[in-house]
Amino acid sequence: MTSREDILQRLRNRRDGELPMPELDYGSMTGRDWSAAQKLDLFQAMIETVHGEVHRATDEEWLDTLAGILKQRQARNLLTPLKHPIGAEIRASGHPDLPELLSYGEPVEHWQRELFNDVDAAITSTRGAIAETGSLILWPGIDEPRLMSLVPPIHIAVLEADQIFATFLEAMELQRWSAGMPTNALLISGPSKTADIEQTLAYGVHGPKELIVIVRQ
């Protein structure tokens, strides 16, 4: 008998018989009927408590905001998506204060060392955010690969203000996640951190030191 059959058989022939199926009451997790403004405020407050930085900008001013953020940090370059509208907009803008724009055009194996050592900042879109926990939703993929939001020391995420959900549960339901999950789905709440050395918080232990959210209103 294989281990698989062995384990399944032991589980199926349970000595004490069938197990009960208690009812589920989701009452404690639902009923957050916050307005759009409340959700934005809560999202911002929550992500700021975990060291995230939030800038609100209109569609017209967001590129200036972005350029300002990068200039202040003296970023030498910005890893930018090729196809997503935010990438296209950045590339088309020719904004004088933007640093060199890089793209993740080829498999990571071809430029891993460069990505790990020479990229200062990356910008990605988001699929929305969660107000209750101050979390960004990302579905990395071909245009915005997984390491973009992980390896460079600065991660800038662009969030559309009308895409903020009350809870994770609500986001999964409204976006119909169970109909098909991507290779990788992520919730990101703040920059990478650790408290493993005597409970002292330190940022950027493996991932970005800084997480900056530009909310487009």
């Binding site: 281990s3 399944l8 997790m29 790990f116 969660i130 926990t133 690969p145 951190k193 050395i197 950027g204």
Partner: protein, 486 residues
């Protein structure tokens, strides 16, 4: 069961180790501070929540998953397989280690980088791989420190909590040449640099799993550092290992468990990263592992599953809250227990993994104060289970005979004879009266010391008269006082 499990003597020297730990002010200070902090943060994180309802929901979600466990495991397997993730089954720790070794050998892998996984600690995977000539390096900062110190984690969430900054700085200096420093940011940055090199060169990444979703074939990982994302993204092959009990039916089940897990563990509303993996790298995707495996580990769990009372142990989501709130754990720390999982969860889980003979001290390493059961996010009745295991270790009774491996290990001939006598006496009123009267009469002969019990307490003394005699006296005097008044 497993060649590299801790030896019996290691596990059983609980008492001498506890005494030593209690005298170590440094260690006690480290734990006290950390645990006070974690308790406070947990409380704050649940502010405004109807915590009782949420815990009830969490418990029900886990119960429903366990009720359908074999079906869910099959559904998970078929969903993962159709997503391109290979599924393996291991009945014990050795088989799980062998499966991982075989995957490594087939890929000619020499180096493995690891994200935090308590199941892999349970399997002692690192030792196994190293004996096979494969380097296994921990990448969670706490685990990295503990591995460098050649120790084991002292807490399931904060592995290096027993060390302070000085000790860690000295260790990093000795092992990696990092300059000595009190600056945690500096120490962290230097570890980041060293580990990034390792990530780039690793052939395989090994991670744990917090929840496995059957409906979509999704592996969920909770973490703060990003090392879990690195481990599951950078090396060309990712192997996830998990206990068979971690499967849940659907994505909707994940939400309440996640809400409970991170708040109970560290008082975070959510960890920095919640990483959900459903596939290996797809055509056109420029990063991610080309191969993903899941190893489902039984290692004693299907045994726990058989019993209507013990099965509650399998609800555990490994948050560590029971440890943080345990008056025993917070005073002696994790190493005293000598097992992979310490504290209350360890005491109800390890006897099943190692047998009661090797873990006989664990069910009694508790004052049964009930704090663990009160904070457990999935309402595991931990104190009841501790009592059950105490009963198991003296071989249960006529209603519930012992079933756990090593049951009856503490049953002594004299003790069971004494209880047999006690039972006989209580079933015979005449014998009972004579016995208690004799005991009262000869109470001067009662020894003043009763072993461990009287080391920190005065011995209770027998009264000159039995309760029966006192009650009878009172009844007699009452009837003479009130005689004929009604």
């Amino acid at each position: 069961m497993n060649q590299h499990n801790p030896t019996a003597s290691q596990v059983q020297s609980f008492h001498p180790r506890a005494r030593e730990a209690l005298q170590n002010d440094q260690l006690r200070g480290n734990f006290r501070r950390a645990m006070d902090g974690l308790m406070g943060k947990r409380k704050a994180a649940f502010e405004g929540w109807d915590l009782e309802s949420l815990r009830t929901l969490g418990a029900a979600v886990r119960q429903r998953a366990l009720a359908r466990l074999p079906d869910l495991l099959e559904q998970l397997e078929s969903q993962l397989t159709s997503n391109g993730i290979q599924v393996h089954w291991a009945t014990d720790a050795d088989e799980a280690c062998r499966i991982i070794r075989d995957i490594c050998v087939a890929r000619e892998a020499r180096t493995v980088i690891k994200g935090k996984s308590m199941v892999s600690e349970e399997m002692e995977l690192n030792h196994y791989l190293e004996a096979e000539g494969i380097e296994a390096l921990e990448s969670d900062l706490g685990e990295y420190i503990v591995q460098m110190a050649e120790q084991t984690p002292s807490h399931i969430i904060m592995p290096a909590i027993h060390m302070n900054t000085d000790e860690i700085s000295e260790l990093l200096h000795r092992k990696t040449g990092t300059d000595r420093s009190h600056d945690v940011n500096y120490l962290t940055a230097s570890a980041r640099q060293q580990l990034r090199e390792k990530f780039m060169n690793a052939d395989v990444g090994v991670s744990g799993v917090n929840f496995a979703v059957a409906e979509t074939g999704t592996l969920c990982l909770v973490e703060n550092e990003g090392n879990g994302r690195m481990t599951t993204t950078v090396p060309p092959c990712h192997i996830a290992v998990t206990g068979i009990e971690k499967v849940v039916p659907s994505l909707a089940d994940v939400a309440p468990l996640l809400a409970l897990l991170t708040r109970s563990a560290t008082g975070q509303h959510l960890t920095t990263y919640f990483n959900m993996i459903s596939r290996p790298r797809q055509p056109g995707e420029p990063d991610g592992p080309e191969a993903v495996h899941l190893v489902l580990v039984d290692n004693g769990r299907s045994g726990i599953y058989q019993d209507d009372e013990l099965i509650d142990t399998l609800r555990c989501i490994r948050c560590g809250a029971c440890m943080n709130h345990c008056p025993v754990y917070t005073r002696v720390g994790g190493h005293v227990y000598g097992t992979t999982y310490p504290g209350p969860i360890g005491s109800i889980l390890m006897p099943h993994l190692l047998g009661l003979d090797e873990t006989r001290h664990m069910p009694t390493a508790s004052s049964l104060c009930g704090a663990c059961g009160e904070v457990c996010p999935v309402k595991i009745p931990i104190p009841d289970l501790l009592v059950r295991l105490r009963r198991e270790s003296v071989d249960g009774d006529s209603v519930h005979p012992g079933v756990v491996k090593g049951h009856g290990v503490k049953r002594g001939r004299w003790e069971s004879l004494a209880w047999r006598g006690w039972q006989w006496m209580h079933a015979n009123p005449g014998l009972y009266r004579t016995g208690t009267r004799m005991a009262a009469r000869f109470r001067a002969l009662q020894p003043a010391s009763a072993g461990a019990w009287t080391r920190v307490r005065t011995a209770p003394r027998l009264a000159p008269k039995t309760l029966h005699q006192l009650m009878k006296q009172r009844a007699d005097s009452n009837s003479s006082d009130n005689g004929g008044s009604r």
